[in-house]
Structure formats: C-alpha cells, structure tokens
Assembly symmetry: C2
Amino acid sequence: MDESNPWQTLSSREIYQNPWITVREDAVIRPDGNAGIYGVVSMKNRAVGVVPLHDDGTITLVGQFRYTMNEYSWEIPEGGCPFDEQPLEAARRELLEETGLRAQNWVQLGGEIHLSNSVSDERGTLFLATGLTQGDAAPEGTEELAIRRVPLDRAVEMALAGEITDGLSVLALVLAARLYTGSG
Amino acid sequence: MDESNPWQTLSSREIYQNPWITVREDAVIRPDGNAGIYGVVSMKNRAVGVVPLHDDGTITLVGQFRYTMNEYSWEIPEGGCPFDEQPLEAARRELLEETGLRAQNWVQLGGEIHLSNSVSDERGTLFLATGLTQGDAAPEGTEELAIRRVPLDRAVEMALAGEITDGLSVLALVLAARLYTGSG
C-alpha cells in the first residue's frame, strides 16, 4: 500500500492570520497530475474537550452563542490548547475556567481527532473527568457561558437528536456513555 | 435562559475565497462589551459521510493522503454537498464515485454535526448504508483513493485507538456500531 504524499507543493503564500488561525494558499500539482490550488486553514491551538461526569450520573454542559454558526449551542466544556501545553493541562484549565470544576480522575476518550481535514489542520483531544469538586468559574471575555446539568444518557439523546450539534461534544458524549454503560 | 446573540458585528470584510471556502474578518463587540475581531471560515459545501456496511459485517474504508494534515488517512467515504443538494443525494453520489457501491437502505446517523464551530460554519451529515451492490468507482482528480474492507468492530477499534483520526469517520463508526451491536 503506497501511503506516500501524491501532492506536490509548488509555492505557498500566507493570505491571512489572526491570533487563532493562519490561512495560506498553496499552488499544487494534484494527485491526478493536474495543476490546482489548496487553501489551508492552520490552527494556532489544539482543541480540547471534557465530559465532566458527577457522582450522581449527571454531566455539566456549557451553553454559548456560537458566532460562526449564528446559533446558540450547548456543549461540553472546550477550549484551545497551545502547542507547547499538554492537552490534559489545557483540559484542566478550561474545565475550571468555564465551570469552576476540578476533577480527581482523567481518562482520555479515544485518540487524536482531526476535526475538519479537508480544509484545516485542527486537532482535538477529548477527556472524561470524574471525582468532581465545585469552585468558582472565570470565563474569558469572548465567552458568556450558561451552565446546565443533565443526566449523561439524556445528553447522549440530545446529541443523537441533533439538539447538541458541536462535533467534539457529540463524539465525546457517545464515547463517555460507551465507557460507562456499555451502550452509549 | 437567554439564548440571544450577545455579539455585535460592526463591519465585515471578505479576505479570501476559493471554490471551497470563504474567509472573512468581522469587527465585533464581544459578549463582555470589548471590541475585537472574529475570523470566520465559511464553507461552500456541507460535508456528508457514509458507513457502507456489507452483509458480512465488514465496511468499506477509503484511504487518501490528507494535504491539510500532511498524513495518510483511512476514512469512511465522504464528500461535499452543495447547499442546493440533499445530503442523502450527495452521500449516494460520493459513495458511488469513491467506491463503486450502491446501497438499497439509508439511515441517518445522529443529527446535523457542526465540525469546527470556533472558526468555521462547516456542517456535516452522516449515514449508514446497507444492501450494498458493487459497480465501478470514479474518483475526482483531487482524490487518489485506496479501498479496504474491515469488520465494523475492527474499524471502531481503529477509531478508538487513534488509527482512524478523521472526526466524521470516528463519530460515524461509533454511531453505526451502537446501532448494530448495542455497544459500539
């Protein structure tokens, strides 16, 4: 099986950057031998997400208005992880900032996820956090977060019914339920 | 619960577009009242993905080199769905183009997924396809696809172990296994 790179990059120019993304356009020779372009969105952070599972079988969801989708969205606590930070450390930080929760036990859910590999290099890592204790939340300025506790199985129903739409959240909830109930 | 939009858009300028994406930068007032910017990547297509499940319990995976990740990737058949096309029609077309498979039975897996809602408006829809018959594949020029059949439960193991990294594929495989085995 030939898994080598069939694309040739002829040139690359940066189009745009802000504190979160860089956009570049490459001139390429495609796998079929024809010339083309490829616009790549590079992320300056990795994504991390946490399913915070309480002893009573409920989880904490955070709600926020997603500017990109122009929609309100209920999600697991998520955030950005700089490439020089460990995903687990970022997950601890984001969980605390967004919900005030600290967790004793952390388990990674699945492997590294590539969120949108046709246009971006975004990578995500998911965790299940248990042994939770409550402190004070301190959201960032871009976030205006609401908090809601729902049973894990109800959150999975919401994910399967399209009431939770965020991809990392849907995946994390199904994986968490799979671990805990053998069904998900 | 206030689910109204706490962001204000002051102005919006297009930065870049190609046949697949548009990038714009908006000047905004953030939820905390401070001025800022938001770079939004808008997709010109919806994503669709299909788990093609054969009568013998195997599924067809397609392999391709993902330019954005600079990595080879085994995935479910996926493609772009223009906004004037139904996701199911796009899924039928992509399955046929990439694998030569036609399916009698189609079931949607979960609801609409937002793949990367911190930076893009990309939407995805997943299907399970059964009752498969084999014809000839006809990949696009940007694709150089390899085909592989593996048992569904093995594909789920690959997804959980990080051997399959594409987010839509990981989610679709876990959802398909959940439907078929009650465990995933």
